[in-house]
């Protein structure tokens, strides 16, 4: 798929371009949504979430720039899937996902989240490979440790060790930037 050309046509209102993107990215987005939602949600719920992601792409087609389509879609499908779970008072099924963080009083939540997201990206990028990829596969794509181990030809225990190392690095980065942080799992 020529992303630049297809985005140009998408922005021109060409639903054929949207269909081409759907054909290309449905398996990818379905896998992410499924990692997040299934179980407890059904396969039909997952497909519906993937559909909603492409509808958002159509509605926001002017905002997507060439080279950024894949991460844009992935971020949106994650949020759509988590919204579905939240509407059922559920959370994505990841172990060791929670941090206790001390937040300055009166700080606006959106500002806080933006800042923490930037720090997290910096921390993950600093891990080097393969730790960075392992961390992203687990916390962005919601892959389980044994699945990551199989794909990267590693022992599952090694994957867990490297994830733990990543969480330590994250905690350090937050601490160095004024956000006192505790990981209940460390």
């Amino acid at each position: 798929m020529n992303e630049r050309a297809v985005l140009r046509e998408l922005k021109a209102g060409d639903t054929g371009a949207l269909s081409e993107i759907i054909g290309f990215y449905t398996p990818y987005l379905y896998t992410i949504a499924s990692n997040i939602m299934d179980p407890p949600m059904s396969r039909e719920d997952v497909e519906e979430t993937v559909s909603d992601t492409f509808v958002r792409l159509w509605e926001h087609r002017d905002e997507v720039t060439p080279g950024k389509l894949k991460p844009w879609l992935a971020a949106v499908v994650r949020n759509c899937a988590k919204d579905v779970l939240r509407s059922h008072k559920l959370h994505a099924p990841l172990d060791d996902d929670v941090l206790e963080i001390a937040v300055p009083d009166g700080m606006e939540e959106s500002v806080l989240r933006e800042e923490l997201t930037a720090i997290a990206r910096e921390a993950v990028d600093s891990l080097g490979e393969p730790d960075s990829e392992i961390f992203k596969r687990h916390y962005f794509l919601y892959q389980k440790t044994d699945e990551i181990a199989a794909v990267l030809d590693m022992n599952a225990a090694t994957v867990r060790t490297r994830l733990r190392r990543g969480r330590e690095r994250l905690r350090e980065y937050f601490g160095e930037r004024g956000y006192s942080c505790a990981d209940p799992n460390l």
Binding site: D14, G16, T26, K70, A92, A102, K136, Y139
Partner: protein, 275 residues
């Protein structure tokens, strides 16, 4: 406060990672669901760039309003400018040795719009088209057995020329095209590789006598090929646009028309029946 690491990972997409096996049935279901949600009909399979460019299949477009100077694209540039005063110039042609053999003055006191073109000296092959919609039967044109044409029209009677469809290569340099009358730009859009400009021209105040009071134009300009396909006539713009949307346009494989290659300067008239 408690925060989830996964919620902070939105900017950490591992872009090199591929996931999921191809599943055409699922993609079809998702596609149908999406098209229903956005209120679109199921589009035909998306066509990749091919030798044949078919505006018929280029589904509707944004009203990406473009200034006339925004036509800069890959190879060719078309400029549209209102004529502020009578357009004057020359028709000049040279012989094979480059000696000037023809030179006469031209003056167009009723010119309302001037089209200029910039681009390479070399021209693409001649474009040709097939019409999948015509509001009335064509009574003049050059069509082969499969319906491919470079010119097709219903010349009408009396004070109307319902439509003319013509495909040509533009020429860079000192080769202008004009439209007479009070010309108004009605719409500017992008249809895939085509820049589309719809114009209407009112001849009421022209100094010369015209058989009709108004003519309309749909200009399809391909900046990569340097092709101009024009649908003009006294039919309304909706009808002319309908013709345009259902054109199939392709490279004829024939070199650009060479009959005017000796001209080094020219001004052509685009008005229906006046060219």
């Amino acid at each position: 406060m408690q925060i989830r690491i996964s919620d902070l990972m939105d900017e950490c997409c591992p872009t090199d990672v591929s996931l999921g096996a191809d599943d055409k049935d699922m993609a079809r279901r998702v596609n149908a669901s999406v098209m229903a949600k956005i209120g679109a009909e199921q589009p035909k399979p998306h066509r990749k760039a091919k030798r044949t460019l078919r505006t018929l299949l280029l589904v509707a477009v944004i009203a990406a309003l473009m200034g006339t100077a925004a036509y800069a694209a890959s190879g060719w540039f078309m400029g549209l400018k209102k004529a502020e005063e009578p357009v004057t110039g020359h028709y000049r042609a040279v012989d094979k040795d480059g000696n000037l053999k023809t030179d006469y003055k031209l003056s167009f006191p009723d010119a309302g719009m001037v089209l200029t073109f910039e681009g390479p000296v070399e021209r693409s092959n001649q474009p040709e088209f097939r019409c999948f919609y015509l509001p009335s039967e064509a009574d003049f044109g050059f069509t082969d057995k499969d319906g491919w044409a470079t010119y097709l029209s219903d010349q009408g009677e009396g004070s109307s020329i319902p439509y003319i469809v013509g495909a040509s290569n533009v020429r860079a340099g000192n080769h202008r095209r004009i439209i007479n009358g009070e010309v108004t730009t009605v719409k500017e859009e992008i249809w895939g590789d085509w820049q589309v400009t719809e114009l209407t021209s009112d001849y009421t105040h022209c100094t010369q006598r015209w058989n009709y009071e108004r003519a309309n134009y749909v200009l399809l300009f391909n900046s990569e090929k340097g092709w101009l396909v024009m649908i003009s006539g006294t039919d309304d713009l909706d009808t002319l646009e309908h013709i345009a949307r259902e054109l199939e346009i392709r490279d004829s494989g024939e070199p650009a028309f060479s009959g005017e290659d000796s001209a080094i300067e020219s001004i052509g008239i685009l008005d229906p029946g006046r060219g």
